[in-house]
């Protein structure tokens, strides 16, 4: 049986990995890999220097090992926010009215990847390093707001997930027609609500400084964090918006084997 040129083309397209709708798959996986390396690196650093240099904020070593890390974190997240948000804005699609349905489907996949990377950062900030805060403050006397875990949790992890949430919001706003025509309420809730967790750090630090030096997680000074994280349920609305539009787009497509 002869293999025609057309058949070869079809076979080649079918075997192409990743498929067109997962064009950003490797970037997505790379983002997971980079974030994992960063967060695990932080944990290893804490294990190496937490007890030896992180217990007394007046010690010279504390400045070297922890305040330098604080300065680095604040500088890094500021630059990263500017670069990532700036890039998304300046490379925006100015011809959204002419967007092909297939390209719109692909962009919905990329938006889902952006939100997924955002939730991965939420995991490290809201789960692992948050509970570790309790663990560390059980054994370390809190003599500064910049403790060995706060420097990572409040000044890297929180800003990082906010930046990534902002990236998802900007990507949708600048590359998908429905999100460009109107502002998605659930996407905005899911990004702005957890952003308020960072703002709650102010109340937390003020409370711990003013009257509460111990660590006790069910205390009212932590309730601002709790209310902020409820807004993560906005993802349910994003899912419904995405699925509804994807069904419309797929129904309009020709069937392909």
């Amino acid at each position: 049986m002869a293999t025609t040129t057309e058949k070869i083309k079809v076979i080649t397209e079918q075997a192409k990995m990743p498929p067109w709708y997962l064009k950003d798959l490797y970037r997505y996986l790379s983002a997971f890999g980079i974030l994992t390396a960063i967060y695990m690196g932080f944990r290893i650093y804490q294990g190496a220097y937490g007890v030896s240099t992180g217990l007394d904020s007046t010690a010279p070593d504390f400045d070297v090992y922890w305040m330098r890390l604080f300065n680095f974190n604040v500088t890094f997240v500021t630059l990263f926010a500017g670069v990532s948000w700036g890039w998304l804005w300046f490379t925006r699609d100015k011809n959204l009215d002419k967007l092909e349905p297939k390209e719109e489907i692909r962009r919905y996949f990329t938006l889902t990847m952006f939100i997924s990377v955002y939730t991965f950062a939420v995991y490290w900030a809201g789960s692992y390093f948050a509970e570790q805060d309790n663990s560390w403050h059980q054994v370390a006397i809190r003599d500064t707001p910049f403790t060995a875990n706060h420097i990572i949790e409040f000044y890297f992890n929180f800003p990082m997930y906010i930046i990534l949430g902002g990236c998802a919001w900007l990507y949708a706003r600048t590359r998908l027609p429905l999100y460009a025509k109107g502002i998605s309420l659930p996407l905005t809730l899911a990004v702005v609500g957890p952003f308020m967790i960072l703002v709650s750090v102010g109340f937390n630090e003020w409370g711990h400084t003013f009257w509460f030096r111990e660590e006790f997680f069910a205390a009212p000074i932590h309730y601002g964090f709790v209310i902020g994280v409820w807004f993560a349920h906005g993802v349910g609305g994003i899912l419904l918006q995405g699925v509804t539009r994807l069904i419309e787009l797929l129904d309009a497509q020709e069937d392909v084997a």
Partner: protein, 250 residues
């Protein structure tokens, strides 16, 4: 009988369209996994976390009251989206499984390996049996009211018996310093914490023992009542957040 069943009006996707939807499902699964580990864990830790962190906080009065009450919140909200829109009867189990993953990772690497707390002292409780029953009742009844009353109650009532095999041994009495105390309390006295002082630890009060040694059932039934209300409240919170509205401006 089968003639009365309505025929599905949609045509299942095949070929590339089926592959696209399946790939989207996988992306959502990864997204949901990290979302609920991060968000539910933070919500749980900052409201009832202390009871979950420490074995000497796991008393007979407050622990079975407050843990199911906060534990049913996210499951109800997620069920409201996944069951109502996708007929997926796994909202509660998904949330609670995510919570378990998050707590176990933190207890091992943040408590045990960094600060040397024994793992027995910081072992997390489980809500999995409660969540499975909650999902099962919603699936079988397809009713918010039935699930709130029977599922919410079961969620609370199952909590203590489900955890008893894990933590019962730490309630055994020991004698130390001329006092009788539990093994769990011994852990607390051996590993001094800033959260340890008795003016911080919310401990069991004697008044509930007026009716004899049934403090736990009283707390569990009180929690069952509150869980029926909490379930309904959080179902509607989940619905509200899952809006599909687009705004003109913010």
């Amino acid at each position: 009988m089968s003639a009365k069943l309505s025929k599905p009006t949609f045509k299942p996707y095949t070929g590339e369209k089926a592959r696209i939807t399946r790939a989207y499902d996988y992306l959502i699964l990864v997204l949901a996994l990290f979302l609920f580990i991060g968000s539910f864990h933070l919500h749980f830790a900052l409201t009832v976390g202390d009871w979950d962190f420490w074995v000497d906080w796991k008393d007979r009065q407050w622990w079975p009251l407050v843990t199911p009450l906060i534990g049913i919140t996210f499951p109800a909200a997620v069920q409201a989206v996944l069951w109502s829109n996708f007929r997926l009867p796994l909202g509660a189990t998904l949330c609670v499984a995510c919570l378990s993953i998050g707590t176990w990772i933190a207890r091992v690497f943040a408590y045990h390996y960094w600060n040397y707390f024994p793992i027995n002292m910081v072992m997390p409780s489980t809500l999995l049996p409660s969540a499975l029953v909650l999902d099962g009742i919603l699936m079988l009844s397809n009713s918010l009211t039935v699930t709130a009353i029977f599922g919410g109650s079961a969620f609370a009532l199952l909590f203590y018996p489900a955890n008893w095999p894990i933590f019962g041994m730490f309630h055994l009495p020991v004698e130390a310093g001329n006092s009788q105390l539990t093994l769990a309390d011994m852990f607390g006295f051996q590993y001094i914490r800033t959260g340890m002082p008795e003016y911080l630890r919310i401990i069991e009060r004697g008044t509930l023992r007026t009716y004899g040694q049934i403090a736990t059932p009283l707390s569990a039934f009180c929690s069952a009542l509150l869980c029926t209300l909490m379930y309904t409240l959080w179902w509607h919170i989940g619905k509200w957040f899952a809006t599909t509205r687009y705004l003109k401006r913010i």
